[in-house]
Amino acid sequence: MSQGIGVVGLYVRDQDEALEFYVEKLGFRVHTDARNGDYRWLTVQHPDQPSFQLGLFTPQAPMLDAATVQILREVVAKGAMPPLVLVVDDCRAAYDRMRTRGVEFTQAPESRYSSVDASFRDPSGNGWKMIEARRGQ
């Protein structure tokens, strides 16, 4: 695939903490970790999805003014950023594995609508829905 979405970014409160979470706890890989002064371009990838990068960015100066940084930090911490969906082969197994690693689940796996889903948050407050892929999709 040569066309399509390459990077979508999340705001996180701390990039080291986010990196540890997405890599150690979720099993993502680092794609790019480049620093320039205080600025850090950090993206991770799902191991099965090499064409897509998830950016882990902090709201920060000089791109944003201090008041905007504060508002964005509040919005993330309140869990008010848009929904994220992670698709897995086996929701219950992923739940067990991730919980053992210390992921904060906000909903245990539930069977409904011919699938199984659970919910978790990253340390910053970004909320993920984890949905088991339906057979044949």
Partner: protein, 171 residues
């Protein structure tokens, strides 16, 4: 700012994002088990703040006092069960955190404007094209927008007035 407790009278301080993250944890816990009882003491413990500050901090963060937020989640769940199941209404009331059918029916009607039976009949008559949207988001989008206290809503409707003055609420 270091403690994350809001100041009382001074110009409004920016909330500490770390405090907000902990308040979010209390909100998440109510979301996960809205049928359970959530006294302020229990919520404050989840968030690691004092009981005295919890209700106000929560309201500042999420726009509604915790008990009212909980009420909207219970009604949301009851609505989904009315729509998607054939469970008796008493069973739905008990499953979603009410102790009696009377209180459930009255609160439901006062907030949504129709009785549980009416809602069920209307929803089940109309089939939805929302199968492709994850169910929890569909459900959340239909959460009742309860921006005032239920008691105030009842009062306004019986008076025929539309005052927005809000009485102090007990958590």
């Amino acid at each position: 700012m270091a403690t994350g407790e809001p100041s009382k009278n001074s110009a409004k301080m920016s909330p500490d994002p770390k405090l907000l993250r902990r308040l979010l944890r209390a909100k998440d816990r109510m979301d996960a088990a809205s049928h359970e009882a959530w006294p302020v003491r229990r919520l404050a413990r989840v968030s690691g703040v004092s009981e005295a500050h919890f209700a106000r901090s929560f309201k500042e963060a999420f726009g509604a006092p915790p008990h009212r937020y909980l009420l909207t989640r219970r009604l949301e769940r009851a609505t989904a069960l009315l729509r998607d199941t054939d469970l008796p209404i008493l069973e739905i009331a008990l499953q979603t955190g009410w102790n009696s059918l009377g209180t459930f029916g009255r609160t439901f009607r006062d907030v949504t404007g129709e009785s549980p039976t009416e809602l069920r009949a209307r929803e089940q008559a109309a089939r939805h094209e929302l199968e492709r949207v994850p169910a929890c988001f569909v459900s959340a989008a239909r959460r009742p927008g309860l921006i005032i206290a239920v008691s105030e809503k009842r009062r306004q409707e019986s008076d025929g007035t539309k005052e927005t003055q809000e009485k102090p609420e007990l958590p």
